[in-house]
């Protein structure tokens, strides 16, 4: 199927911080993402409740 997937700047919040990575929830309840710490760019030390922004689109199965 020919879909036009354009990334949108979605805000979200940090739900959990571990020594390995962070878990974030996306605004609009579009899901929860868990990523390693090296995928996060920040000037502050990571804390639960901090607001984040991420470019995201849909997942297309290939």
């Amino acid at each position: 199927m020919d879909c036009e997937l354009t990334p949108k700047l979605l805000p979200g919040k940090i739900l959990e911080v571990t020594d390995l990575g962070v878990k974030v929830t996306l605004k609009g309840r579009m899901g929860i993402i868990q990523v390693p710490l090296r995928s996060v760019i920040t000037d502050k030390s990571l804390q639960v409740g901090q607001e984040i922004r991420v470019y995201l689109s849909y997942i297309q199965v290939v």
Partner: protein, 571 residues
């Protein structure tokens, strides 16, 4: 890429731009020109600059290129010769002034025709004033068939001023009492339900924390007849809200949960949400651990909730008719001679809470209904009265602001508006599920097209709750209807976050349901769902399209100004 002759005709008055390198002496045809539909993209990326003296496609077809020119070059009078002059608007105007003959008093003269085959002659006075004809014209009887009533539904509303917990469930003198042990008993409804609690939230004490709102359910019951006809009793001033977690404390609808303070998490007064003065009866259900994201978990919570509501319904059945504060009578009509239209409501069908119970025994109930996922998500037709009588119990998809809860279907603004409109004949409301996988989506969409064809409708409005992969079905549903020559209007939340990922040429009349200023799914229950004002815009858009009036193309990006401007037409 070059365009076809057909596309060139559609864009006759749009600027002409070369699609590829062309040499001096080329006689310009459609195959030398770029598609104007992509000009906004080209301009945005700096590849194209249109000037004021650009010629239109209509002007350049058949003209000759005077010098070699690159792709993306707008054609101007300097570059081509033998182009057509632009037609001024005046030349195409139709004048409505009196003809010279009429003005000079020729009305009373006679035009005479000789007829060879017949003997004699016919005289027709010029101007066709029937009063001077040598005979009288029998006046044709006016044939305006009356609307035929197919079925009638009476809804009696009963005020609720207080809700209490007590020893027996009863409803008397506007006071609803709910039996204390009812919640414990409701666990019998499904073994997955581990706990159920109930509390009362008066309108002035809404700043209370709540787990995610899974549904908003009206309290209504049949006292006579089946769903869609006979008599229904409805409570006014009290509504049930269902909330849920699993045994580990994980919110049911985790992805679409809207836990938080009730006064902040609900847009009160929307068709689906509690009204500003409603007493909320909160039923909180705990389901077995890790079943909140499976199909069986949320359904078990709805079953337990329905068990509790059923006992309240039994008390409401006994309410004396004379105690009702309002009586509404709804008809399903057969309107001969009016354009046949259909309303298509796309509902979620991906599984778990993305499911709906269709046609339960009691209004907005669970028991006796069939779920659209079990039915393979194929289109199912309900009469307008069946919808207004609680024919849909939503298990309620994720995305709080855009999901349609059970109360939304009970008070669906488009159903009411289209059913009561005197210019159209709403033949039915089609509910079609949105499956997960694309080939299943195509299968059900094709059945929708066949159904619309069999119903012989001239117009259709297609709506969808939520956003995401259901927009793929949304586009396909519109296409399947549109390609059969049926005029179709779409209504959905899209805005910024939910922009459509697919489209087709039949999606030229769309209604945006967004109410968030930044265009986000803002996690406030029912905020960006279909409201009466959206319904009016959608119906006017459909009537406009059916009348053959061209719809202006949409802006490239979501803009509230367009919605505000269109809103003025219905005020």
């Amino acid at each position: 890429m070059s365009i076809t002759v057909e596309t060139a005709e559609q864009h006759y008055n749009d600027p002409a731009v070369l699609c590829c390198l062309r040499q001096k002496g080329t006689v310009i045809s459609a195959s030398d020109l770029e598609d104007p539909a992509i000009f906004p993209d080209l301009e945005e990326s700096g590849l194209l600059k249109l000037s004021e003296d650009s010629l239109t496609i209509g002007q350049v077809l058949g003209s000759t290129l005077d010098q070699d020119a690159d792709a993306m070059t707008p054609l101007t009078p300097k570059l081509v010769s033998h182009f057509a002059e632009k037609k001024t608007e005046e030349s195409g105007k139709i004048t409505t002034s009196l003809s010279a003959a009429a003005a000079s008093g020729l009305n009373n003269s006679v035009i005479r025709f000789s007829i060879n085959e017949l003997k004699g002659q016919i005289e027709i006075p010029a101007g066709f004033d029937p009063s001077v004809l040598p005979f009288t014209i029998p006046s044709a009887p006016k044939l305006e068939p009356e609307d035929q009533i197919i079925r009638t539904l009476t809804q009696r509303e009963f005020d609720v001023q207080e809700v209490r917990i007590g020893a027996e469930t009863s409803f008397q003198d506007k006071v609803l009492t709910i039996r204390e042990g009812l919640c414990t008993e409701s666990l019998k409804a499904d073994p997955l339900v581990k706990d159920a609690e109930l509390d009362i939230i008066p309108p002035d004490q809404r700043h209370v924390y709540s787990n995610t709102i899974m549904d908003v359910i009206p309290i209504a019951t049949k006292t006579e007849g089946i769903l869609g006809e006979g008599t229904t009793h409805v409570m006014r001033g009290a509504v049930v809200i269902l909330t849920g977690v699993d045994e580990l404390g994980v919110q049911v609808h985790e992805f679409g949960s809207c836990e938080g303070y009730l006064d902040e998490k609900i847009r009160f007064g929307r068709p689906g949400s509690p009204d500003p003065d409603d007493i909320m009866i909160r039923i909180h259900v705990t389901v077995q651990e890790n079943t909140g994201m499976e199909r069986r978990g949320p359904f078990a919570a709805h079953k337990a909730c329905d068990y509790i509501i059923q006992e309240i319904r039994e008390a409401l059945k006994k309410a004396p008719a004379e105690a009702c504060v309002k009586e509404d009578v709804y008809h399903d009509y057969k309107k001969t001679g009016k354009p046949r239209v259909v309303l298509v409501k796309e509902i979620m069908g991906q599984g778990a809470m993305h499911d709906n119970v269709i046609l339960p025994t009691e209004p907005a109930g669970v028991k006796g209904g069939r779920r659209n996922v079990d039915l393979g998500n194929v289109p199912v037709v309900l009469s307008p009265n069946e919808v207004r009588d609680g024919g849909i119990h939503a298990l309620t998809c994720i995305g709080p602001a855009t999901k349609e809860v059970t109360r939304h279907y009970f008070r669906e603004p488009l159903v009411n508006l289209m059913a009561e409109d005197n210019e159209i004949n709403l033949v039915g409301v089609i509910f079609i599920g949105s499956p997960q996988v694309n080939d299943e989506k195509s299968y059900v969409s094709a059945r929708l097209g066949a159904l619309a064809e069999a119903l012989d409708v001239e117009g259709a409005i297609v709506t969808t709750e939520g956003f995401g992969n259901n927009h793929i079905d949304f586009a396909e549903n519109i296409e399947q209807i549109g390609r059969r020559g049926i005029k179709v209007v779409g209504a959905s939340y899209c805005a910024y976050q939910g922009q459509l990922v697919v489209g087709n040429k039949y999606m030229d009349a769309m209604i945006e349901l967004n109410k968030d200023k930044d265009g986000f799914e803002n996690e406030i229950l029912a905020d960006s769902t279909l409201c009466p004002s959206d319904a009016k815009r959608a119906l006017l858009m459909l009537k406009t399209k059916m009348a053959g009036v061209p719809i202006e193309p949409a802006n490239r990006n979501w803009s509230q100004d367009v919605i505000d401007a269109n809103q003025q037409f219905i005020q």
